[in-house]
């Protein structure tokens, strides 16, 4: 079994791993070694989420997820896949957090509802009282070494935080302030992004991150720059309907503004990704997701209550007004003799 993998090699592996190599499979031995040597445990909690991120994690195919969960990561609490339930599980979570204070990693899936004192999302009981997710994230989060926000909801607010946001959902780093937070967005994130980030924090500590707290090893490229339909874009061939060959830009592809490596990593064990499957990139890793129309090129502008218009409509109306104004002024100019033959007559008279 290999014993040393330098951080540089690790990052290169994460960033460059093509679909053909299973990143998780390659990392597994190193991680299990670290875990065997007493690497920090991981607690996984869920708030305002759809569990999609966990499902995506379960898609880790090689080695199979069972091995990952039992040998590769020392996962001590996960609402969906742990065998324990109820008070037993809650007590265990609190115990792990207390015993490993400052030395465990907290994975948060889902946004944090803060409306009504967080009552929109309760996740268990402590001494017979509801614990809101907000309270759980703050109390446990403060004890952790770092928080890993998995999925756009916990990283940036995502779908639950989209206006009008009645439950006042927030991103984790807006709720817990004094602990390092690593954002691994995606709706859902690729399993490699999650396992890779966990591996990095276990083996080397906090990874290098961009402005929005995303690990650079996965999120430093724009999808549009590595898209297999890019040649269509460059040649000006654009699909008008789904199923046509061509770049998906006109159908609303957000590739030019989305940071992610799905086009080289491929989802579902290296089978497919968003654009290859004939869809568009919806920009699911960006902080503003999903505040834009997924199948339109550009968002419309709000102009009044429940009324929006496209910029082109505004432009055309203003353009029409401008042309009308110019036309009117031109007519006026000619009628009053400011331009045309009359002006010269007047000037000549004046001169003489």
């Amino acid at each position: 079994m290999p014993t040393k993998l330098s951080r540089r090699d690790f990052v290169r592996l994460c960033a460059g791993s093509a679909a053909a190599i299973s990143m998780t499979g390659f990392l597994a031995p190193y991680m299990s070694e670290a875990v065997a040597a007493g690497a920090p445990p991981v607690i996984w909690i869920q708030g305002a989420s759809c569990t999609g991120c966990s499902i995506s994690l379960l898609n880790t195919v090689h080695p199979d997820i069972k091995k990952v969960l039992t040998e590769v990561i020392s996962l001590r609490y996960h609402p969906n896949i742990m065998a324990a339930a109820g008070d037993l599980a809650m007590q265990e979570m609190f115990k792990v957090a207390e015993e490993n204070k400052g030395n465990f990693f907290l994975v948060v899936e889902g946004a944090v509802p803060t409306g009504a004192d967080g009552l929109y999302c309760t996740v268990g009981e402590e001494d017979g009282h509801h614990i809101t997710f907000e309270k759980l994230v703050t109390t446990i989060g403060k004890k952790s070494k770092a928080i890993l926000s998995f999925g756009t909801c916990s990283a940036f607010g995502g779908i639950p935080a989209t206006p009008p946001n009645p439950t006042n959902c927030k991103a984790v780093d807006q709720v817990v302030k004094d602990v390092p937070v690593i954002n691994v967005p995606g709706c859902p994130p690729h399993p490699d992004w999650m396992v890779g980030t966990i591996a990095h924090v276990l083996l080397y500590g906090i990874p290098e991150m961009d402005t929005f707290g995303r690990p650079k090893m996965f999120f430093s490229n724009i999808i549009h720059d590595n898209c297999e339909r890019r040649q269509y874009f460059d040649n000006g061939i654009f699909a008008k309907t789904f199923g046509e060959p061509g770049c998906m830009l006109e159908l609303g592809c957000k590739g030019p503004i989305a940071h992610c490596d799905a086009s080289t990593r491929l989802f579902n064990g290296g089978v497919n990704w968003c654009v290859k499957s004939g869809g568009v990139c919806i920009g699911c890793t960006e902080p503003q997701f999903p505040a834009w129309p997924m199948y339109e090129r550009m968002a419309e502008m709000p102009v009044g209550p429940a009324t929006t218009v496209t910029v082109d409509q505004v432009g055309i109306v203003l353009g029409g007004l401008a042309v009308a104004g110019i036309g009117g002024h031109l007519v006026g100019n000619i009628a009053t003799g400011r331009i045309g033959s009359k002006k010269e007559d007047v000037e000549k008279e004046g001169d003489s």
Binding site: G236, P256, I257, P287, Q288, A291, M298, L318, G319, E347
Partner: protein
């Protein structure tokens, strides 16, 4: 008879004017293709307009830089920068003139307050376009700025709206300057304008004028 001419635009002003005119026109045309390649079929591929768009973006930066530097060094700022305190009171007479409610307008200086407002506005708009443009061009380099402005989608929208403002204001600019008289248009090429060109009536003249008219 040779008309007596006086200097109106220095060679630097003319140079910047036409450089910026070329870059802005090409930026608008290529930009619109990049925005709507299906509806606006001016190019046959994406490569040419994008290369042109980025090249012209640099040219515009350069043209604007020279123009701003010139304006400061040659004290041209007083001609083109709109001053709220001094220029706002001049608006009523200008609007009256444009709406044909008055036959002449007072002498405003090189440009009337409307023109000054437009030119100052262009500087602001150009800066907005340069900033939003670079955010979209180099999304990794200016990630924080893009996030501050509300994300790339908002930046796209701003870039696009300001483009429309450019289209409309350039339309108005071209019309108003041509309608002021061909000599004004010519002066942007030659730099000179006939000495007797009507730039507006000086204060004293207005009084006598109205006296005669009434």
């Amino acid at each position: 008879m040779v008309k007596q001419m006086e200097e109106r635009h220095s060679v630097w002003i003319r140079f910047c004017h036409w450089v910026n005119m070329i870059s802005i026109t090409l930026l608008i045309l290529t930009g619109y293709y990049i925005h709507a390649p299906h509806t606006f079929r001016l190019f046959s591929n994406m490569d040419t307009p994008r290369t042109l768009h980025f090249a012209m973006a640099y040219l515009l930066c350069f043209g604007v830089l020279i123009r701003v530097y010139y304006a400061i060094v040659a004290k041209d700022t007083k001609n083109i920068v709109f001053s709220v305190k001094e220029d706002t009171p001049k608006f009523p007479s200008m609007i009256k003139y444009y709406l044909f409610m008055a036959d002449s307008h007072p002498y405003y200086g090189k440009y009337n307050p409307g023109q000054k407002m437009m030119y100052t506005g262009w500087l602001v708009m150009v800066l907005i376009q340069i900033i939003t443009g670079f955010i979209l061009y180099k999304p990794n380099m200016f990630m924080a700025l893009g996030g501050f402005l509300g994300g790339y989608m908002a930046v796209r929208l701003i870039h696009y709206i300001v483009t429309w403002l450019f289209v409309l204001s350039v339309l108005a600019h071209v019309y108003l300057d041509i309608s002021e008289g061909v000599p004004v248009l010519k002066s942007m090429f030659t730099g000179k304008i006939p000495a007797d060109f009507d730039h507006g009536t000086h204060e004293e003249e207005i009084e006598t004028d109205t006296g005669v008219g009434a």
